[in-house]
């Protein structure tokens, strides 16, 4: 036995008669594409292997998708309710009192605006509109508010739509109004032909609309003259003038021309600009944006924490495997690819499940009063945001892998 001295050739003698050429260092490392592919497949297989952990992570994503979309969707529903009338009135341009930021009655404007608008060259028609809050006396002695719309006959714009009983023409009958079907119960079992006292006048129910509930009491329609009586609006005053542009006329251009012509006594807005003004007001001047923004964010944060922790724990539970991968020659960057692919998979699958569930929820709870609005853009944004969220959430796991010593595999 020798100490620290190199061996004899005994080993070779015991080997094959003519020793094969010794293996040489391997020339190439895998290309980036091969590494991506290898890491992607390994990552997905690892993910599918631990079904319970996969489920946990997916629940985090699904939870965030549902909570965020439910909040955001309800907020969108509220926004849309505030412009419900603008979207359905048929008018391209609105002449409103100066300082108007919402679809509400302000200080009425003079009929001069109406006269002048009617003679503008690109105007198809211009019609006055009355808007105000009145109460309906119920048979049991209560009083329920409605949002009264007064519209000139024959109706060119701003009339009742989505009618489920009667026709808009019933407004031509004396002291006849159209109410919201969803309010029939509230107004004391309203039926066609029911008589109710509205602002002290007896009126007859001539028809029903469905789903015409703004972010205020539901709409009720009356002829212009009846509405003026109920609202006690002076004969030469009105809340809005609705303007229809001639075909081929840009409403924005027409609005600008009208504003120039009519001066500062009124505020003229194209329909879309009016809607934007309303949205802007709701976001800036009310706590709605903050409230819903916070709860949406909360959903995302909770989802982020769940995804982050469950991906971290998946890594910690399998440290030996990751250590082995490192010993076999993967780098932290390779393992980052693995986690990236897992994150994207979680985001895509979780978003799909979450959106399916939230769409069902939206359908289930949809009512004239509450609508959960899911726009196509929301779907796209959900995938995008959740992918970003999951990728960022995986960084805790990546940090652990970065610090993982491959030497641990021999322990």
């Amino acid at each position: 036995m020798t100490t620290g001295v190199f061996a004899s050739d005994a080993g070779d003698a015991r080997a094959a008669v003519s020793p094969p050429p010794a293996a040489a260092p391997l020339p190439s490392r895998a290309s980036l594409a091969v590494r991506w592919r290898a890491m992607a497949r390994t990552g997905l297989r690892m993910m599918l292997h631990d079904k319970l952990k996969m489920l946990g992570t997916l629940i985090g994503v699904v939870f965030a998708v549902i909570l965020a979309n439910q909040q955001l969707g309800t907020f969108m529903g509220l926004l849309q309710k505030n412009v419900l009338f603008l979207r359905n009135s048929g008018a391209d341009v609105w002449i409103a009192p100066p300082g108007t930021t919402q679809f509400q009655s302000g200080k009425p404007i003079s009929d001069v605006a109406l006269m002048r608008a009617r003679v503008m060259p690109d105007v198809e028609w211009a019609e006055p509109l009355l808007l105000g809050s009145v109460t309906v006396a119920t048979p049991v002695g209560g009083a329920e508010p409605v949002t009264l719309i007064g519209v000139r006959l024959p109706i060119k714009g701003g009339g009742p739509w989505n009618m489920v009983a009667g026709t808009p023409e019933v407004l031509a009958r004396p002291d006849t109004m159209i109410f919201e079907d969803a309010d029939r119960e509230k107004l004391g079992g309203l039926n066609l032909g029911s008589v109710r006292e509205v602002a002290g006048h007896k009126v007859t129910v001539g028809g029903f609309t469905y789903g015409l509930i703004p972010f205020a009491p539901s709409f009720a329609f009356a002829s212009y003259d009846l509405a003026r009586e109920l609202l006690k609006t002076p004969r030469d005053r009105m809340n809005f003038v609705m303007v229809k542009a001639k075909p081929g006329t840009d409403p924005v251009v027409l609005a600008r021309a009208l504003q120039e012509n009519l001066g500062d006594e009124v505020k003229v807005m194209a329909k879309d600009d009016y809607a934007k003004t309303v949205y802007g007001y709701l976001l800036r001047a009310t706590p709605l944006g903050i409230t819903f923004g916070t709860s949406t964010l909360f959903g995302l944060i909770v989802g982020f924490v769940i995804v982050s922790l469950s991906m971290f724990s998946a890594v910690v539970d399998n440290l030996r495997e990751f250590g082995t991968l490192k010993a076999l020659g993967t780098t932290t960057a390779d393992l980052a690819k693995l986690l990236f692919v897992q994150s994207v998979a979680y985001a895509l699958v979780g978003s799909t499940i979450g959106l399916a569930l939230v769409s069902n929820l939206a359908n289930a709870i949809r009512s004239p009063r509450l609508a959960l609005v899911l726009l196509p853009q929301t779907f796209g944004a959900t995938f995008f945001v959740m992918t970003a969220l999951c990728v960022i959430a995986s960084s805790l796991a990546l940090l652990r892998l970065h610090r993982l010593e491959p030497a641990m595999v021999f322990r």
């Binding site: 020798t2 001295v5 061996a7 080993g11 260092p25 091969v34 991968l325 076999l328 020659g329 021999f410």
Partner: protein, 227 residues
């Protein structure tokens, strides 16, 4: 002639200050190309530490290590994975196979990391499994294999892609005598066939007869060797 492994005056100290313990105290260790060497010694003598340094997963405190004439000690951390891919195959005490991958996929992954295309890798993985007598177990996951079968998959994975050096740390420790012998015989046979140089850490004197050389390490120094 260049050596497969040449380690000179390797020192490894764990910890710093009062807590510092010198685990390797100037180890000289050499392995010729194609040699099949055992490293033996009592528990805590530094076998695993030395193997880790040779395997480029641990850096020595001082001393030089070269693999096939290429100096691997004193390299930047970021160069080590590349060196492992180019030079080394590992067999661990626990099989350390990836539980979610089949036997063939475990081997194919190592091959892909060594630059093989996925298709090539799969073909080669299957032929290696055939060679270790597991041709009918390619699609089994580690959990569906016996201990001895798993270790045979590990052998196939270590040899996959033909790294010049194979390092094994107590590959038979968790196997019964017969399975341990079978795996070690298989490793030796294939290494000799293909020209791999092999270092096996083992306590198991029942398999010493398979070694070209048995090197003894005690308390961080090489104390002798026998052939």
């Amino acid at each position: 002639m260049t050596l497969a492994i040449e380690a000179r005056d390797v020192v490894k100290t764990y910890g710093v200050g009062d807590a510092a313990t010198q685990v390797l105290r100037g180890v000289d260790f050499r392995v010729k190309k194609g040699e099949f060497v055992f490293l033996a010694g009592p528990s805590g003598s530094g076998k695993t530490t030395l193997l880790s340094i040779l395997g480029c997963v641990l850096t020595p405190t001082s001393g030089d290590v070269s693999l096939l004439g290429t100096r691997v000690s004193g390299r930047k951390e970021s160069e080590l994975p590349g060196l492992r891919v180019a030079y080394l195959g590992f067999i661990f005490q626990g099989h350390n196979l990836i539980a979610s991958l089949t036997a063939a996929q475990n081997i194919a992954l190592q091959l892909e990391l060594r630059g093989h295309s996925p298709r090539e890798a799969m073909k080669e993985a299957e032929s290696l499994l055939d060679r270790v007598g597991l041709g009918d177990r390619t699609h089994h996951k580690p959990g569906e294999l016996s201990g001895g079968q798993r270790q045979r998959v590990s052998v196939a994975r270590a040899l996959a892609g033909g790294p010049p050096i194979i390092l094994a740390d107590e590959p038979t420790a968790s196997l019964d005598a017969q399975a341990g012998l079978l795996v070690t015989e298989m490793l030796r046979e294939m290494a000799k066939e293909r020209g791999h140089s092999v270092v096996v850490v083992t306590h198991d004197n029942r398999i010493y007869h398979l070694a070209d050389r048995v090197v003894q390490i005690e308390d961080g120094t090489i104390t002798g060797e026998s052939s």
